[in-house]
């Protein structure tokens, strides 16, 4: 392709790197060189194209709130090691294991005809040395107030999105979130509440117990149960109902959430806990149980990077438990599945003898 020798200057002009004299020269040149005009146009199109690349996405406010909650969780939870703990003033002092997310999606955020995006289960354990009952944070523009009176902690939410972390309550304490048409009482849990157009429309319980009171009806939800207002989500299959005088416009339903309803992060953490559980039992010398746990993990998560280790450890645990025949069978399963595995030599010996190599 034919290239004009002035192209470098055209590029420098585009980048704003030219002095007055060079700029005047290239402007004159552009008046006479169609190739350079085309090139200058190309450079502009490259710029405008990359500037027009925008992330796809959900309503900004909701996505932002979700991100904030995730950040809040990471900032307040002690994660892998003590060195990674973050001291965050009053929030770092919040105790307990309870988190509530209240999501009010107004017409500003989500169109009525749109299924609300799944909101990830929120904060995990909050660190444990606090005098605070709860930490409350609202999204921009949210309208809410909070009162604490003689053990009764209340949040009055009229519009917007609020995230609340509550520590375990003492016997005489209550924590209640009031929405325009209902209330949610915390009993030590992690859960999510959604409100649309001044109506509570969904409650999902990740852990613990929640009491929902809406439109004159009352329902207790436990872990992995969900309530939805029928008027908003007609496709939800009906399950149980309290049958305590709910009005015709509402039905109280509870159903177990399907496993796949959990976001990937939760799935990962569940997997991690399965594996870790097996490892813990192995460390404490509970070899029979360790074999069972690790076998379950290896079978259910065959594509997990730890599955190979888990399968070998099953054989090893069985051998340590003195169950030689089962250890042999487990070692053979390992060799069949990972013929070139890292533990090939040890597994071969186990498959032959059902015993581990003596320690050096």
């Amino acid at each position: 392709m034919k290239r004009c020798s002035m192209e470098l200057l055209v590029e420098a002009r585009h980048d704003g790197r030219l002095g007055e004299r060079d700029l005047a020269q290239i402007e004159r040149h552009l008046g006479t060189c169609p190739d350079c005009v085309t090139f200058a146009g190309e450079l502009e199109r490259f710029r405008s194209t990359v500037q027009e690349i925008m992330p796809p996405g959900e309503p900004v406010a909701l996505g932002r709130m979700r991100g904030r909650l995730r950040l809040l969780r990471a900032a307040t939870v002690s994660e892998d090691t003590p060195s990674r703990r973050i001291r965050f003033g009053a929030v770092a002092a919040v105790v307990g294991t309870v988190a509530i997310a209240m999501v009010i999606v107004t017409s500003l955020f989500v169109r009525n005809d749109r299924e609300a995006p799944h909101v990830r289960p929120l904060m995990g354990e909050v660190r444990a040395d606090s005098a605070f009952t709860a930490f409350v944070e609202g999204a921009d523009g949210s309208r809410f107030s909070r009162t604490d009176e003689d053990g009764l902690h209340q949040v009055e939410l009229s519009e917007g999105i609020v995230a609340i972390a509550v520590r375990h309550l003492r016997e005489h304490e209550r924590f209640v979130v009031h929405t325009p048409d209902g209330e949610v009482e915390v009993r030590g849990t992690r859960f999510l509440v959604e409100v649309r157009d001044a109506h509570m429309t969904r409650v999902e319980v990740e852990e613990g117990v929640v009491e929902v009171r809406v439109a004159g009806a009352e329902l207790t939800l436990r872990a992995h149960q969900k309530w939805t207002a029928v008027a908003v989500a007609p496709r939800e299959p009906a399950a149980t109902s309290t049958g305590r005088g709910e009005p015709s416009s509402f039905k109280l339903q509870a159903r177990a959430l399907p496993r796949h309803a959990h976001p990937p992060t939760t799935e990962r953490s569940l997997r991690a806990s399965d594996f870790q559980d097996g490892m813990r039992r192995l460390e404490t010398g509970d070899f029979g149980d360790a074999a069972g746990k690790l076998h379950k993990f290896a079978e259910e998560h065959a594509t997990d990077p730890r599955a190979e280790d888990a399968l070998f450890l099953v054989a090893m645990s069985l051998a340590r438990a003195g169950r030689a025949e089962e250890a042999e069978a487990a070692a053979r399963r390992y060799l069949e599945r990972y013929p070139n595995g890292y533990r090939h030599l040890e597994a071969t010996r186990l498959a032959r003898t059902g015993k581990l190599a003596p320690s050096p």
Partner: protein, 199 residues
């Protein structure tokens, strides 16, 4: 807050934070104020998501890196140089996150690139209508073929409007290298477009 006695915390909201200038917020983050972190998050999360997207990351990767960037900010805030806008500083952290992620996924990336190269152009090129959109799709596709270093320089300068000096400082490279990467990025984009957006 005590469980006994009465304490009212009416209108616990963020408007006061919104007006605080970036340097003040960064100092507050360095002191460990979570509210300041939230305000900076609100202020710049969409800029960072856009940056990640322009760097070719998928939605979930972008979400993860956004999160990691702000977690990193908690520790990095004390290094903030006091410039009026924290945007460049945050993009710098974000760029480091991308590079770190890329290193860990380098091998996988090679496999994916090889796989993508074997796809037919019809499958690879986005299906769009009309000349302008079609060209835009071809440019985006060509952008995806740039090396990460060139793409980063291109996105930072052309997409994010950052100066070469700023980019050089963030990436820890000489300014001339930024211009060189930019030049080669454009050259490759042109080549790629001249071939009809194909390899």
């Amino acid at each position: 807050m005590s469980s006994s006695g009465t304490k009212k915390l009416a209108r616990v909201s963020a408007p006061r934070e919104v007006a605080r200038p970036d340097p003040e917020l960064m100092l507050a983050i360095a002191r460990g104020e979570l509210a300041a972190l939230g305000t900076v998050y609100d202020r710049y999360q969409s800029d960072l998501l856009r940056f990640f997207h322009r760097m070719g990351l998928g939605e979930s990767d972008a979400d993860d890196l956004l999160h990691e960037t702000f977690i990193r900010l908690i520790r990095a805030a004390r290094l903030y140089d006091g410039r009026p806008s924290a945007r460049g500083f945050l993009i710098g952290i974000a760029a480091k996150q991308i590079r770190s992620r890329r290193r860990s996924l380098g091998r996988l990336g090679e496999i994916l690139r090889a796989f993508a190269a074997e796809l037919s152009p019809r499958l690879v090129a986005p299906q769009v209508d009309g000349g302008g959109q079609e060209e835009r799709a071809r440019i985006e596709h060509a952008l995806g073929r740039l090396t990460a270093e060139k793409r980063m320089a291109f996105v930072m300068v052309e997409g994010e409007g950052m100066s070469a000096e700023e980019v050089a400082s963030i990436l820890g490279i000489p300014i001339a290298t930024v211009w060189t990467r930019l030049h080669h990025a454009r050259k490759e984009l042109r080549k790629s477009l001249a071939r009809g957006g194909q390899r």
